[in-house]
């Protein structure tokens, strides 16, 4: 059973899933680094991304699944921006007591609301978006699902685009300035409030993109975002809160650990279920031995 091909196959699948996890975690870490808010509705942004792509591609029909991904990102951009203005801005204007607690409550409240709204509107039954491309692609000795490869490739493209945006554009640099020191940034003429808004909207749309990219691989249900969001939390803690490099490397590490780890449990139903627990073990280890994560700043 444990042939070299087996490990190669699990490793390749782990890398593919790791890219998708990294995309999701990147949105979370971007929001955290600029707004200092952990977005507990990240999983629901992912879920909405999956549903909007499904809606456009399979219900309305007649469009390429890629257009579905772009549509999902646009929808989440708007939802993220509106939510930030109406619920998170008051916190940054200083009109909210105990902002840390408020941020968790209001994003968690949104998560609860969205999950139940989609349940009421779309029902509990799973839906699957049509494939990017059916069948498999043969690379050397491995045959990999074309949908997975395309999803991973697109998430690499999106991550590269985000890195370029953050490093090369004025807005990206301004966002980094706000994340380092809000007050100093505003002295130089940057409006921290609009940077908060842009960062939150982009973060939400990255979650939406990962949901839309995975929609052809796994089905969407109203609570499909719960496990991916928990995984994103763990990745961000592992990589270091607010670290972009940490989110990408952390995502790939978690993808590999889950995939290789699952191969070590002989009982297949257990292997599948316990894949989710490796992250928690890593979480415990990080808290015990390196609480600031791989690339986080020392407290």
């Amino acid at each position: 059973m444990y042939s070299p091909e087996f490990f190669l196959m699990q490793g390749a699948n782990g890398l593919i899933m790791g890219c998708l996890y990294a995309l999701m975690a990147l949105g979370l870490t971007l929001i955290f680094s600029v707004l200092k808010v952990i977005n507990f509705a990240h999983g629901e942004f992912y879920m909405i991304g999956g549903y909007t792509a499904y809606f456009l591609v399979s219900v309305v029909g007649g469009v390429n699944p890629l257009v579905g991904v772009i549509f999902a990102m646009a929808v989440l951009l708007v939802i993220g921006s509106l939510f930030e203005v109406s619920f998170l801005r008051p916190m940054h204007l200083g009109s909210v007591d105990r902002p840390a607690e408020y941020a968790i409550l209001v994003t968690f409240g949104l998560s609860f609301f969205l999950q139940n709204l989609v349940l009421a509107l779309a029902g509990p039954f799973p839906h699957r978006t049509s494939s990017f491309m059916a069948g498999g692609i043969k690379i050397g000795v491995l045959t990999l699902s074309a949908d997975r490869l395309i999803a991973a490739g697109l998430s690499l493209v999106l991550m590269a685009a985000l890195l370029l945006f953050v490093r090369k554009t004025w807005t990206g640099k301004a966002m980094r300035a706000v994340s380092q020191d809000k007050d100093a940034a505003s002295v130089t003429g940057i409006n921290p409030l609009s940077m908060n808004n842009i960062a939150f909207a982009i973060g939400a749309s990255l979650a939406g993109a990962s949901g839309a990219l995975i929609a052809p691989i796994f089905s969407v249900v109203p609570d499909v975002g719960v496990l991916p969001s928990l995984r994103a939390f763990i990745i961000v803690v592992l990589g270091g809160m607010g670290s972009i490099k940490g989110a990408i490397i952390g995502g790939i590490v978690i993808g590999l650990v889950e995939s290789l780890g699952a191969g070590l449990i002989p009982d297949p139903s257990r292997a599948l279920a316990y894949r989710e627990l490796y992250g928690l073990i890593i979480f415990v280890l990080v808290l015990l031995f390196r609480p600031r994560g791989l690339f986080g700043e020392a407290a």
Binding site: I38, P90, R98, Y102, N116
Partner: protein, 310 residues
């Protein structure tokens, strides 16, 4: 006697009397069942308020601790010949020990580690209970023995009412003691509290363990009252319900949070005909209260009537 003390005495005696008299007026066992579940949720909402509203530590783990205590007691009764009472004590202890472990792991640091860890932990417990179905019966549910040799709900009603009243009293006394001051000092400004000589990590852990133990008591009751445990009771949505109850009542007021739990449970029962939309309504209410009425809906009324906060 001070005026506020007198008012408080009136309020608490009034609530106690109403609670004791309800089974004499409400004869319908369905509604008595709803009352008992409302008290259970009131208790858990109060443990959440105890931790978040006073010590400032945001946990998603209360329902997971309820589930751990319930399953410990239920599984011990199923697989060992242990008397129910010992199994129940073991359930409460298990919640306390797990609470101590989580507290030690997460509360040594500042920041949102506790919220992040407990939400992942709760989901992990649910996954394990579902996966090890040969042992736990998984989604089919674990049958748990009842406590009383009768089909009547009345003894359970009085039991959970008693548990709720005593738990609230004990937590209230703790918060009125030196501990309560330390908790609030940590919540308002942990660096200042630390500079004044409060061992902040220790008191954060104490607050977490106390809240865990009361969750365990609630969990053991829930197991033997509902007589059926399923892993999905421990899903994050249930925790969302508890947090919403405490927030709608008023996080910074133990009594208001418990009353919030009771009232919301009745509200949800009343909205049952709306089906899936009732949770949408609840979610919207939760967000609205957080945004526009930060102190909840009941706590300000309490403050106005009594003239002081809890």
């Amino acid at each position: 006697m001070e005026k506020t003390t007198l008012k408080k005495l009136c309020l608490f005696t009034g609530l106690l009397l109403v609670g004791l008299l309800i089974p004499l007026i409400v004869k319908n066992s369905y509604w008595l069942h709803v009352f008992a579940m409302a008290y259970f949720y009131g208790l858990i909402a109060a443990t959440w308020s105890f931790l978040d509203g006073y010590a400032g530590q945001f946990s998603f783990g209360n329902i997971a601790l309820v589930v751990i205590a319930g399953y410990t007691s239920g599984l011990l009764a199923e697989y060992t010949g242990l008397p129910l009472s010992l199994g129940m004590i073991a359930g409460v202890l298990a919640a306390g020990v797990v609470g101590l472990f989580i507290g030690y792991l997460c509360l040594r640091f500042k920041g949102a580690y506790l919220s992040l860890f407990t939400i992942a932990f709760a989901e992990a417990i649910r996954i394990i209970l579902n996966t090890e179905h040969r042992f736990t019966r998984g989604p089919c549910g674990l049958h748990v023995e009842g406590l009383f040799n009768t089909t009547s709900v009345v003894p359970y009603y009085y039991l959970i009412f008693f548990i709720l009243a005593v738990s609230l009293f004990v937590m209230y006394r703790m918060l009125r003691s030196k501990w309560g001051l330390f908790f609030q000092a940590i919540r308002e400004d942990d660096e200042a509290a630390s500079a004044m000589g409060v061992n902040i990590v220790r008191y954060k852990i104490i607050a977490f363990v106390v809240s865990s133990i009361f969750c365990g008591i609630g969990g053991v009751f829930y197991a033997h009252f509902s007589q059926m445990l399923t892993p999905n009771f421990g899903q994050i949505a249930t925790m969302g319900l508890v947090i919403g109850m405490a927030v709608i009542g008023g996080v910074e007021n133990l009594i208001a949070a418990a009353l919030g739990g009771i009232i919301v449970q009745f509200g949800l029962e009343w909205l049952r005909e709306f089906g899936a939309w009732r949770m949408v309504i609840f979610g919207a209410l939760l967000m609205g209260v957080v945004r526009f009425a930060r102190n909840g809906l009941l706590a300000p009324m309490y403050k106005k009537f009594i003239g002081e906060e809890v």
